[in-house]
Subunit: 336 residues, 4 copies
Amino acid sequence: MKTQTIVLNQERNVTLTIYLQEVGEKYLRIQTRPAALILPGGGYQFCADSEGDPVALEYLNAGFQAFVLRYSVGKDAVWPNPLDDYENAMEYILAHAEKWNICPEKIAVVGFSAGGHLAACAATMAKHKPSAAILGYAATMEKFISICAPNAPGPVDAVDRKTCPCFVFATRNDKVVPAENSLRFINALYTNGISFESHIYGYGPHGFATVNPTVQDPSALCSRAPHWVADSMEWLWDIWGDIDAEPDNKPRCARTVGGDYGEFLSVECTTDCILKNESAKELLHSIGMGELISNMEGLKGSNIVLHQILEYAQLSEEQITGIDTMLSEIPNLELK
Amino acid sequence: MKTQTIVLNQERNVTLTIYLQEVGEKYLRIQTRPAALILPGGGYQFCADSEGDPVALEYLNAGFQAFVLRYSVGKDAVWPNPLDDYENAMEYILAHAEKWNICPEKIAVVGFSAGGHLAACAATMAKHKPSAAILGYAATMEKFISICAPNAPGPVDAVDRKTCPCFVFATRNDKVVPAENSLRFINALYTNGISFESHIYGYGPHGFATVNPTVQDPSALCSRAPHWVADSMEWLWDIWGDIDAEPDNKPRCARTVGGDYGEFLSVECTTDCILKNESAKELLHSIGMGELISNMEGLKGSNIVLHQILEYAQLSEEQITGIDTMLSEIPNLELK
Amino acid sequence: MKTQTIVLNQERNVTLTIYLQEVGEKYLRIQTRPAALILPGGGYQFCADSEGDPVALEYLNAGFQAFVLRYSVGKDAVWPNPLDDYENAMEYILAHAEKWNICPEKIAVVGFSAGGHLAACAATMAKHKPSAAILGYAATMEKFISICAPNAPGPVDAVDRKTCPCFVFATRNDKVVPAENSLRFINALYTNGISFESHIYGYGPHGFATVNPTVQDPSALCSRAPHWVADSMEWLWDIWGDIDAEPDNKPRCARTVGGDYGEFLSVECTTDCILKNESAKELLHSIGMGELISNMEGLKGSNIVLHQILEYAQLSEEQITGIDTMLSEIPNLELK
Amino acid sequence: MKTQTIVLNQERNVTLTIYLQEVGEKYLRIQTRPAALILPGGGYQFCADSEGDPVALEYLNAGFQAFVLRYSVGKDAVWPNPLDDYENAMEYILAHAEKWNICPEKIAVVGFSAGGHLAACAATMAKHKPSAAILGYAATMEKFISICAPNAPGPVDAVDRKTCPCFVFATRNDKVVPAENSLRFINALYTNGISFESHIYGYGPHGFATVNPTVQDPSALCSRAPHWVADSMEWLWDIWGDIDAEPDNKPRCARTVGGDYGEFLSVECTTDCILKNESAKELLHSIGMGELISNMEGLKGSNIVLHQILEYAQLSEEQITGIDTMLSEIPNLELK
């Protein structure tokens, strides 16, 4: 393993600390490694070391190449400086991906608090989006982040169908960055059909990082809070496929969820999605399912999927498949 | 251990299966036990056995007395029949609490899917509220539950400051009861200051219960989904205090979160809460903090707590304590 | 789930408590269940309830049918009464196996302390041997058990090639039944080629059972001691194949270990085993490996396997396979 | 974190790779760190990289300073070269302990296979003994290790009362280094009263290291085998006291076990130990416990402790304490 720190921007004191492991030889089971770009918190006033090295060690240990970006803070935190720092770091990593045996499709950004804000911006608005984002007690609401970074945008409002899958965690009673920031972000991910996993733990202080006993007293947190570390890795393997060389290491979890996000309609679309589509309604009328449509009108806003409705109506699996086939020829106009 | 099934309502075929363990003797470390009242799912059409016995066994194993309520379903599921069944079961349990060595302040309701809807109704609208609710892939939106229980209410709209603490879990891609049901419920809990823990797991089918391999293929779910069982127990000990006889088994987690829910104001109130209170604003003006108020106006909706603002403003801990003392004499008018 | 207690021997006050779960219906994934016959400890003076119900619950929870045998104690503990009680219980279970949906090839005995002595006797000397034995801080040395059961035999001396696979655990500093009892038993299992798993935990008191907080203060034990419960289940699936209906639930772990226990020789035999076999030595001489034999003589007692020696001697994999084929025609005379 | 490789012996190509973390600042909770000196395996023919970096990362992650020693192999492995390399490495670490914020009383050696042999030699015969040893599928029998290191000693024969506490793990069916090597070593530790923890896992291949998926297919091992990593850390905190700054981080587990290893006798001595001591026998006779002595003669070899015998004889706790007080004045002559 090698470590090195390079200067990305002398003027703004932006650095990238690089931790690289080998592949091949002893690491027979892998040819390339995933990477984690870590963004420590600190209210855009500083970059907390407790959210740097200890986090890098966890990801290294799980087989990643790791990077800690110390982005612009204090007077230099004027937007878009921090996001520019992120873009520069990501460009630098991508430019060295082959040399460093990094799989460019498997780069996660891992951010905490203000660094979580920056990670959420990367996930939603960056030119070089990560392939997944881990957001720890992140600030995501514009109103909220504006306290420490006056003109920074609110990533919760920027979530769209191109946002990468996210793993979002926080404690219910965080007094520094209210859990509302995490809740609003996952609501936005849900509304946009983005795959995510989220854990709002019962209690614990802000800034608990990896709950390494050298930096955080574990007894101050609920017993589940430290699980985010292992859980986030498992989730990445779900999204990316397992790290190792097995031929069947396909992703187990899609990057978007639900029929509403396909290019064509299906029985997995919600009733709302179907009802907005005139061709779909015509189709259903034409096969004598007008009553179904009026039932669906009554369910507006329930987000129930058509498949479920058809099951309740006791259609056979064959009938449902037939409807699915017909729907699959109707373009999903709702798709932005 | 003893098991027994009693009929609560002959006409509607409502039964309560009772699983009782002893205290004292071999169980030297406890004098009373917590209890779990389990409400299986089944779309109000039936009560799924896979969400009965196997769930009871998990809670028994953790030291609980366990109860499975098979409530009114099918044509008998007309509201408020199921909720009446719950009330009857709870009354029955409370009436026998002393005989059965149950601590009446430690009765959790554990519901799944439609049973989760019933559990959420118990948590929000029942006469005999449980002291905590575990809600598994629960239906909580009126629009949604109305599909299978036409006139059933939506507990998400009934959450208020008297709702009990809740542990809410679901999978992101549940095709039967969309995770939106869980999301809306935790949003409502948050808005009302109720303590909760929530886990939205990356992927997995509806109805996975305890992921016991005799009823559910574990490989169909993400690796984290089975954790809800142990995690929900740990969370209950956080809310209630540990099960055992140790003198320090105090709750580690309060039932409400945040200063906004106290009878008097404090520096732990959000800025929004402070700004709505004329006495608080007068106080701050009178001590020369008018500028702070106008800053706070700019932060409306951020839900940042006053303590945080005062730290950013670089007030000393002593000054903050002083302000806290003054605020503690102002009644919290916002409190419903 | 049903529970019932039947009397096996009125005179000696021997009872069998039966806990039965269903199969089929909700338990779609299984047609038969494994079973656990639990033997509580108590120095043959009594049967400890803390090693009854709580243990049964753990195995029930994992999908087993469970049985607690309260065998002859006190003045009735004269040998072979307790072992007769075991045989009667096992006969009773086997006679009802079909009715109770029990797989007769998957019945484990689980014994603690003196009950561990009885379980180890069942594993080594019983007419109806279990298919696996879980031995918790068991007494296994004749000298030792004779203190509380004067004429009871020492199962450590009875281990032979027909002994069932065993899972053996204890704490290093047990003051009541010294860990030496577990060590000697696993040494005997090793010498006889029996498959086993063993955990000697750093510290903890005697009689900790499942470390259920209602019966045992977890802080008195090292953090690993409670793991035996889950670990013993996983080990049983390794020995038996997984509990569920998957077509590939074959055992992952054989019941005997090493080439010395096959009917014919192989390169997996130890050098000692080869050297005791004149036909094998002749064979090796005849193919010009006389030097190898004299090297092996120098390694007597090392228990190194021939395969390893041949690798060190830099024979090709093809050559090794050739030798293996020739050895496979020589009967293993050492095999008792 | 910094990494660096220094040459300890140019001629024999012996190197020490150093991984250092900071203390203080972000690591507020610690002033010094424990250290792990890692000895990879490789049959004294090479040093396996898979047992270097990945192991170092695990210990770094748990808060240790880590060191990987690549000792003399091949033609240079002539004894005592490898042990000299160990001594040099340990001297180097001790000389820099203050500079590198290492607690010199908390240095563990972690060895695998042949490196486990070297670690066991360090634990038993080194001038600079480690304070604990982690031995993974280690070769410990002279007969066995002589195959690859002709004149190397067998540490199993060198265990004595000065041996450090050990954590010993292996798989039952290891075909390269038979588990007998681990069994014999823990037997020797037991006989000499040394504190240890041991795990013999049901099945798995030799050389599985930390079961990092980049180097080892986890499906080839039983599910418990990877637990040694976390378990060995927990055990070290038991032996050393927790890593963090809490005032109560005292060891929970003594370095020796049992009364036989004290300077004076006690009721925690075994009957064998008491019977060998004429003063003790006189004392017991003088207080009218002659019958007890003859009972104890019948129990020779059982290693039961006197306390237990006195309880069976139904002496009161007060009487037992009285005997303990009298014994505490008799020197333990058996103590070597």
